[in-house]
Structure formats: C-alpha cells, structure tokens
C-alpha cells in the first residue's frame, strides 16, 4: 500500500511550519544561500483555512491514482509506497492537476530550466513523501503540535481490525440482550 501523510484539524494551529519544512527538506542547503534565485519556494502541501478548519492538504498517494492515469507523458509512477512525479518527463499539461480531486498538485517553475521562448519551465509538483530524504516526511517532523501523521499499511490495517472487533463486540452484546 502507498503511505500517506494526513493532518488532524483538531491539532493543527495553522502555522504553516509544515510548508516551510517541506521547502527546506526539498531544497536542501540552497535555502541558506544569499542568492535569492538559488532556490524555489514550492511547498508540496498547502494550509487550508476556512471558518471550520485549518489543516494542510497534500497528496493522498492513491492506490489507483487519477493523476497517473491522466498523464500523457508517463511522468507519474508508483515507487517506494508513494506516487511520484518525474519532472524531467513532465511538460506541464495540467491533466494531473485537473484529474486530482484533492487539489494536491500544483504547477511550479523549475529554477534554472527554460523553455524555447525563454520562460522558466513549469512542471507539476506534489508531495513525494520526502522520497530519498533521511528521516521521512519533513512536515511530520517539524509540526509543533504533532498534527501530522505518516500513515502506513499496518497502522491502517490495525485501526480497521480494531474497529471491526469493536463492531463485533457491540453486535454480540445486542444479540445477547
């Protein structure tokens, strides 16, 4: 199963440290360089604030990803329990963006890469579960209120099993009465 990071709106205080953590993790040391163009600020998760809720939203790493199905370039694939975009193959057609029901994909400029008309290259960008980054998803690590959790197969399975047992116990009790 693909893993995913989910936010708990009861714990989230909307501080966006997760977004900063995401950028720092993906940009590496560039972020501490003085040259303002040396890094791009492209958080792969976004804080949503409405009257009811504050919580970051990011890719759910679907098992049957609509983005992957929509991509005409074969730039989206599943790897290491995550749905990953190979930006070198991406041409910015926005099909994935349109297909994703969660708004989890953005189009971002790639620093230092240009199109034929001299404009910066724009490609799809989304959560990659910090693939290849030591310590796993940075957003989970930096959240000051521990509002973000990396959900893996076992935890989800355990939670479901626990719920099934509870449901069975309740039905059993009903049957006894």
């Amino acid at each position: 199963m693909n893993y995913f990071v989910k936010g708990n709106p009861d714990l989230c205080i909307g501080c966006r440290t997760c977004m900063i953590g995401c950028v720092v993790a993906h940009e590496g040391k560039h972020i501490f360089e003085v040259d303002p163009d040396s890094y791009t600020f492209n958080p792969r998760l976004h804080m949503v604030k409405t009257a009811k809720i504050s919580v970051p939203v990011q890719c759910k790493h679907c098992e049957n990803p609509a983005c992957m199905a929509a991509c005409p370039a074969g730039a989206i694939q599943m790897k290491d329990h995550a749905v990953i975009i190979d930006t070198s193959k991406c041409m910015g057609c926005k099909s994935c963006m349109d297909a994703c029901p969660f708004g989890a994909i953005d189009m971002v400029t790639e620093a230092g890469k240009f199109q034929a008309d001299g404009k910066e290259r724009v490609v799809a960008n989304k959560c990659d579960l910090c693939s290849g980054i030591p310590g796993g998803p940075a957003c989970v690590r930096v959240c000051p209120t521990a509002a973000l959790t990396l959900v893996k197969e076992d935890e989800l399975a355990d939670a479901m099993e626990k719920k099934r047992m509870e449901a069975a116990r309740n039905l059993f009790r009903d049957n006894q009465e």
């Binding site: 949503v48 041409m91 910015g92 057609c93 189009m107 008309d117």
Partner: protein, 186 residues
C-alpha cells in the same frame, strides 16, 4: 490575484453526443477574426477549420483540444517561433507557421491539425498556386467576447473551461473538510 497558469477546456465523453456544434462554433468565432463571416452558414466562403477535434473512441466520443501545457512541447519544438505564450495561453501565429508538422508530432494529445489558412474570405495562396496551411489548435478563444465558444454552444454542457488554479483551491478546501470526517480514523 494574477493568474499564473493557462486555462484550458476539457470535454466530458459521458455527456458528449458528438454533434460537432463545438467545432462549428470554434470555426465561426475564429474565422470571423480575419474573414467576413456573419452569423449564418451562408456567409461562410472558406473551409471549416476548427481548433478542437471531435474524436471517436471505443467507448464514445468527445472533443479533444489543447491543454495549454506550461512547458509546451509544441512551443519548444517550433523553430519558426510561430507558437508563443500570450497571457498564459499557447497561441499559434498562422502567418508565421510554415507547416513543418513538428508541433503535431510533439503534442501528446493530437490537439493540432494542419488546415487550410483563409484570409479575407479566401484561401490564402502561396507559391506555385498551393494553398497555405497552418497548425490549427485551441487558443482558448483569445480575443473572443464571452470566452471559449465551444463551451458556450455545447447543448449538453459537455465542455468545461478549467481554471486549474481556482479549481485546485476549491478542491483543497473540500479535501481539508474531508479530513474533519476522518480525523478519528484510529
């Protein structure tokens, strides 16, 4: 806030009947820009050259048109500089197009067709009496009042103008609100 991404139109094959009203409307509004085309069929004196293409496939049909890619292969491949990005949209200049077909090959959607180029109510001629052609593709009705004509005329609302940024924002809000319902997943 300023838009950063190109919008595009997508078809919905579950609604499309294949009537081609979109193609005819597309032709009508664009043809009007450099030909004396009125509102009725009889005013037309040039071939129908749409910028979107009704496509039949195993499960049905729908119009296919340009996605206005952000790193557009057609733009990148065009040696003549006939394809440019204007107000976020990828636009072909038919005057500059020499019909090399590179963009057609680069486009992964088949959204471009070579069609005769007409001007002032006549087919444009080139040397040796041949008709000039151009790479015809969606320009999202740039300069057309009321926005994409295909979307407006579809009798079944099978075409949708996508503002990817605005839609992503709406979808994010829905996704966030869904988290309220799954917060006690354990």
């Amino acid at each position: 806030m300023k838009k950063n991404l190109g919008s595009f139109v997508v078809g919905d094959s579950t609604k499309c009947t294949g009537c081609k009203a979109c193609e005819v409307a597309c032709f009508a509004v664009h043809s009007r820009q450099n030909n004396p085309v009125g509102k009725t069929v009889g005013t037309v004196t040039v071939p129908v050259t749409p910028k979107l293409y009704l496509t039949r496939f195993e499960q049905g049909c729908m119009p296919i048109q340009c996605k206005h890619c952000e790193d557009a292969p057609c733009l990148n491949v065009c040696t003549k500089g006939a394809i440019s990005r204007i107000d976020n949209q990828v636009i072909v200049d038919p005057e500059k197009c020499i019909g090399c077909k590179d963009c057609m090959q680069a486009c992964p959607f088949g959204a471009i067709a070579l069609l005769p180029y007409a001007k002032d109510g006549k087919l444009a001629a080139q040397a040796m009496g041949e008709t000039k052609v151009f790479a015809s593709k969606c320009d999202l009705c740039a300069g057309v009042e009321g926005g994409p004509a295909c979307v407006r005329v579809c009798p079944h609302q099978a075409l949708r103008l996508v503002d990817p940024e605005a839609e992503a924002e709406e979808k994010k809000i829905k996704a966030a609100e869904a988290l309220l319902m799954t917060k006690n997943w354990r």
